[in-house]
């Protein structure tokens, strides 16, 4: 096999470096009532991006906390208007059903009104997903050259809604169609300097990755059938099995879909990718991570809460001022524990899994890089304020 023009992609993250950064920025976030979270995100991204290397060269994240903060300020105003109106109307309509469903009809109405309040945010979430990726790419550089994504979040939102509808209407059968088309939509609008990316492959190509999810769905459908003919124990058994099978299937799907989509991406000049992530490794990394986070987080909680415990002794006859102090210490301890868990999760769950995906990729036809020229900077990328406001930025 010819390995000329191939570059191995590696992730060189080090828990001992990321953890102090994540914890320190997290504590600053608590102290500043959440304002610092934008700077925290920027610092963590700068760190993580620089650890992703193609061959010998690292990526660079040039986004700043300040621009994310400013983007957030803009987004929050738009979102506040939208949400305040939508939520209040839903609150007014749904209030009776939510608090006191009288009969079956109203229970259904309760479900619908809760679902509606989610649906109201859905278009925004799709919009924000595209803008967030666009921002990240616009602030990413490799070998000094900017990446970019075209300004097309509206089209993404409409397609996302359409494919989502199709997926739901077919009980999940057309999920791969959604995955493929949405990823292709983004990839075809992605640029590295002067070079454009293309998404090859076919959406039907994702079905081998989707197999186990289909099995899970099949079991759930069977379970519903058995439920209808009153074979209740059979329905219950199939239901549980279908859920578990489907969940594991989803992990396998995400891993294999990543590999398929990655392997069929191509950049102008013939640069391509190979990706061999393994679902088993991802699951193992996750289980291992949960164990480590649980263990270290448990120890940290004990250390943090122990002083509080000694304060609580004799709280009965403490003065009002003392009680206040204890309450404040309690809230701070709680937030601190949350921060520790957040940092541990980032370092021991998110980072290893990211590392596995990144490390599974090989760049082929790297000589195409020689021809790539710089592009002008994209000032329109809105610093993903919307994505942050909707709390959907993901781990990194």
């Amino acid at each position: 096999m010819d390995h000329a023009g191939e570059l191995k992609v590696t992730y060189r993250g080090d828990p001992a470096k990321l953890f102090p950064l994540a914890l320190g920025t997290g504590v600053l976030g608590v102290i500043t009532l959440g304002i610092y979270r934008f700077w925290a995100k920027a610092r963590i991204r700068r760190h993580v991006w620089s650890k992703v290397q193609v061959g010998e060269d690292g990526f660079e994240f040039t986004g700043t906390g300040l621009e994310m903060f400013l983007g957030f300020l803009m987004a929050v105003v738009a979102l506040a208007v939208y949400l305040a109106v939508v939520q209040l109307i839903l609150f007014a309509v749904g209030i009776r059903f939510v608090f006191d469903p009288q009969n079956e009809m109203e229970e259904i109405a309760q479900g619908i009104s809760i679902a509606l309040s989610f649906l109201a945010v859905l278009p925004l979430m799709l919009f924000a997903a595209y803008r967030s990726r666009r921002y990240k790419l616009a602030r990413t550089r490799f070998r000094g050259i900017r990446l970019a994504m075209e300004n097309a979040a509206g089209g993404y939102m409409l397609r996302g809604l359409l494919y989502l509808l199709l997926t739901v209407a077919t009980l999940g059968l057309l999920w791969p169609l959604m995955t493929f088309r949405l990823e292709a939509y983004m990839t075809e609008r992605t640029w590295y300097g002067s070079a454009r990316f293309r998404q090859g492959g076919r959406w039907q190509g994702l079905y081998s990755a989707y197999f186990h999810v289909l099995v899970g769905i099949g079991m759930l459908v069977l379970s519903a059938v058995f439920g209808a003919v009153a074979e209740e124990w059979m329905a219950g058994l199939l239901g549980v099995m279908g859920m578990i099978w489907g969940m594991v299937g989803l992990v396998i799907y995400r891993v294999r879909a990543f590999a398929y989509l990655m392997a069929h991406k191509e950049m102008d000049g013939g640069l391509g990718f190979r990706a061999e992530p393994r679902a088993g490794s991802v699951v193992w990394l996750y289980i291992k991570g949960v164990f480590i986070v649980g263990l270290l987080g448990g120890i940290a909680s004990a250390v943090i809460f122990a002083p509080l415990g000694t304060l609580m002794v004799g709280i009965e006859d403490a003065s009002e001022l003392m009680m206040m102090e204890i309450a404040v210490v309690g809230v701070l301890s709680y937030l601190l524990v949350l921060t520790v868990f957040g940092a541990l999760t980032l370092v021991f769950i998110n980072q290893p899994i990211l590392g596995h995906f990144v490390g599974s990729v090989t760049v082929t036809g790297a000589q195409a890089l020689e021809a790539v020229r710089q592009r002008v900077s994209d000032r329109g990328a809105d610093a993903e304020g919307l994505a942050d406001a909707l709390d959907m930025g993901g781990a990194f």
């Binding site: 700043t64 300040l66 400013l70 305040a84 209040l88 009776r96 608090f99 070998r143 000032r379």
Partner: protein, 361 residues
């Protein structure tokens, strides 16, 4: 003294080509020289990366005031020299006018949020509250009272139910409501909590906390407070407030990035207790109370005395006092509303029974 020339990797910011260059410090030690480039040491900025990644400060730049070109040095004598010689390697430069931009955006966002919170949201919530059917409001009120109950004590406080006390409470309720043509079917209850407070929930639910009964010296004082709360109920203030806090809590959670989640529900109960009805709403409830007290022959003296006594106490103010800094005036206002007591609300025995409704003392 100056380190020797070293091999390094250079990306010129124009093409993605990797260029191997020899980098050396200039003889005066104030610049790095490689190829045709001369990078002044005081304009060098470090970029996060493996080895020592350098960028050059420019007046232009994009999101950062840096030239897109990058120079990557291995960790070695030259990199160590640069770290020592470059004065502002770690500085994060701000473009001129940045602070003005920040101030502008913060003001804009703050203004828009204030507009939403204090103008837009109140209007909409009032509109929606006015259109809410009564039976929905009652269901909602029950949920809110339940919420407050669990908020007051970890696993919920007891609703007091000593029979003699309940009878006294009922007598007081009848005296205040019978034949007054109220829209709401008032439902009184006492919760066993030491806080000095009473509050109105949607749907005509009025809750008295034991602390109020402990503090009040006569039944007329309690009746006065109740009359005030009935005023809120009849004006639908609690529903408006609930709608308002549901909306604003959502926005608050949005702005704070909701560290813990579930701010919304928690705030709702809290809001009703420490309540922030508007001054107008409080004044209207007072006026309603004075009127009701006069009409029912209870008289306003009890309420006036209550205002005077509570005013001297520090600590958390109950809702009834919260938005009125000067209770003294209210006591006067109550007295001048007139209306001497025609007949006591409760007998001495009944008053004692009411105070013992929680089965203590």
């Amino acid at each position: 003294m100056l380190p020797a020339a070293e091999e390094a990797v250079y990306f010129d910011g124009v093409s993605a080509r990797r260029q191997e260059v020899m980098v050396e410090p200039s003889p005066d030690g104030r610049a790095l020289r490689f190829g045709r480039e001369v990078w002044a040491v005081d304009r060098l900025r470090r970029i996060e990366g493996e080895g020592l990644v350098l960028a050059l400060l420019t007046g232009e730049g994009d999101e950062l005031p840096h030239d897109p070109a990058r120079l990557v040095l291995d960790e070695g004598p030259l990199a160590a020299w640069v770290r020592g010689a470059a004065p502002a390697l770690e500085r994060r430069d701000l473009r001129r006018g940045t602070w003005g931009k920040i101030a502008g955006r913060v003001a804009l966002a703050g203004g828009a949020l204030a507009l939403i919170l204090f103008v837009f949201l109140p209007r909409i919530s009032d509109m929606l509250a006015d259109q809410m059917p009564l039976e929905q409001e009652v269901a909602f009120g029950d949920a809110v009272v339940g919420q407050v109950k669990s908020w007051l004590g970890g696993d919920g406080v007891a609703v007091c139910s000593a029979p003699a006390g309940l009878a006294a409470l009922e007598k007081m309720e009848r005296r205040l409501t019978e034949g007054q043509g109220l829209t709401y079917d008032i439902e009184l209850s006492v919760m066993d909590h030491e806080m000095l407070n009473a509050f109105a929930a949607p749907g005509g639910r009025i809750v008295i906390l034991r602390g109020l009964l402990d503090e009040a010296e006569t039944a007329e004082e309690v009746a006065g407070v109740l009359a005030h709360e009935i005023g809120h109920v009849e004006a639908r203030d609690p529903v408006r407030l609930a709608f308002r806090s549901a909306g604003s809590a959502g926005i608050l959670a949005l702005v704070l990035g909701d560290v813990t989640g579930g701010t919304v529900i928690g705030l709702l109960g809290d809001h009703l207790m420490s309540a922030s009805y508007t001054r107008e709403a409080e004044a209207a409830a007072d006026a309603f109370a004075f009127d009701l007290l006069v009409r029912t022959g209870i008289g306003t003296e009890g309420l006036a005395e209550f205002f005077e006594r509570i005013e001297g106490m520090g600590g958390d103010l109950p809702e009834i006092l919260s938005t009125h800094p000067a209770s003294g005036n209210r006591a006067e206002a109550a007295r001048s509303a007139g209306g001497d007591a025609a007949e006591p609300v409760l007998t001495t025995a009944e008053w004692q029974a009411l105070r013992g409704i929680c089965g203590k003392g």
